[in-house]
């Protein structure tokens, strides 16, 4: 059975977003996803990590973002762990985009994209020390 398990740990810096995208591009390509799905996976993870850098860690560059990617049973599961502020997305419901565009507020767009691009999105805030975000994409 074709399975993959890889991890990466980076400091909470926007300059590391490229490293995160390259890592997930490699995993998704190896898993056999098509070009469109690879782009969706990479963008969803970028949005999730951007939110962590901005909102959970508030641009503290000493903090870590840990990402694991597991591909098995034709399913890629990306787990992203941070130890920052519990950043609860206001809601996982689609935001009123027209109102946001008119008010020039971009907050929440990332979460909306993540939800749209992935097959399953789960935030686990149950542990006091860290937050786990799980993103699933089916082959």
């Amino acid at each position: 059975m074709h399975s993959i398990k890889k991890n990466i740990k980076v400091k909470s810096l926007t300059e590391n977003l490229g490293k995160i995208r390259t890592f997930l591009f490699g995993v998704a390509e190896e898993a056999g996803f098509d070009k469109k799905k690879i782009e969706e996976i990479v963008l969803a993870a970028d949005e999730a990590c951007t939110n962590i850098i901005k909102h959970a860690y508030e641009f503290d560059p000493t903090k870590d973002i840990e990402i694991s990617a597991v591909f098995e049973n034709k399913k890629l599961t990306i787990t992203i762990k941070d130890t920052g502020k519990k950043f609860k997305p206001q809601s996982l419901e689609p935001p009123d985009l027209e109102a946001k565009l008119k008010k020039r507020k971009s907050g929440g767009l990332g979460v909306h994209l993540i939800k749209t691009l992935m097959d399953k999105v789960e935030y686990d805030f149950s542990n006091p020390g860290f937050t786990i975000l799980k993103l699933v994409k089916k082959l």
């Binding site: 977003l17 971009s106 990332g110």
Partner: protein, 116 residues
């Protein structure tokens, strides 16, 4: 990783802003500087040429959201041209085509300013 670049040229009172590379949360600051500079020069009619832009995240879209009203309040606009499919998809998923104009070429986008 590839970087980001922005080039400006002007044609018939319209600024053509050509973007290249990757526009994510790391590179948005560079684009913000360009828009600040354009506004300080009183230039409000902008066509963004996306032909060489390979990647965009919502952080990049946030820049356009932040500046478009200023352009419109001053008789201009930000129009979007020549987007690659993957880049357009991000705008589309976030509902931008309702409030912004997209064109398949820079020329068509620039001509639109002349029609008004």
């Amino acid at each position: 990783m590839e970087g980001f670049n922005a080039k400006i040229r002007e044609a018939d009172g319209v600024v053509i802003l050509s973007l290249g590379g990757t526009l994510d949360a790391h590179t948005t600051g560079e684009l913000e500087k360009v828009f600040e500079e354009l506004i300080s020069q009183g230039k409000y009619k902008i066509v963004v040429d996306f032909a060489e832009l390979n990647y965009i995240s919502s952080a990049g879209l946030g820049v356009f959201m932040a500046y478009v009203e200023t352009m419109r309040e001053n008789g201009g606009d930000i129009k979007f041209a020549a987007l690659k499919e993957n880049v357009f998809n991000v705008f589309d998923l976030l509902g931008f085509p309702v409030l912004y104009e997209f064109f398949d070429s820079v020329e068509k986008a620039a001509d639109r300013f002349g029609e008004k």
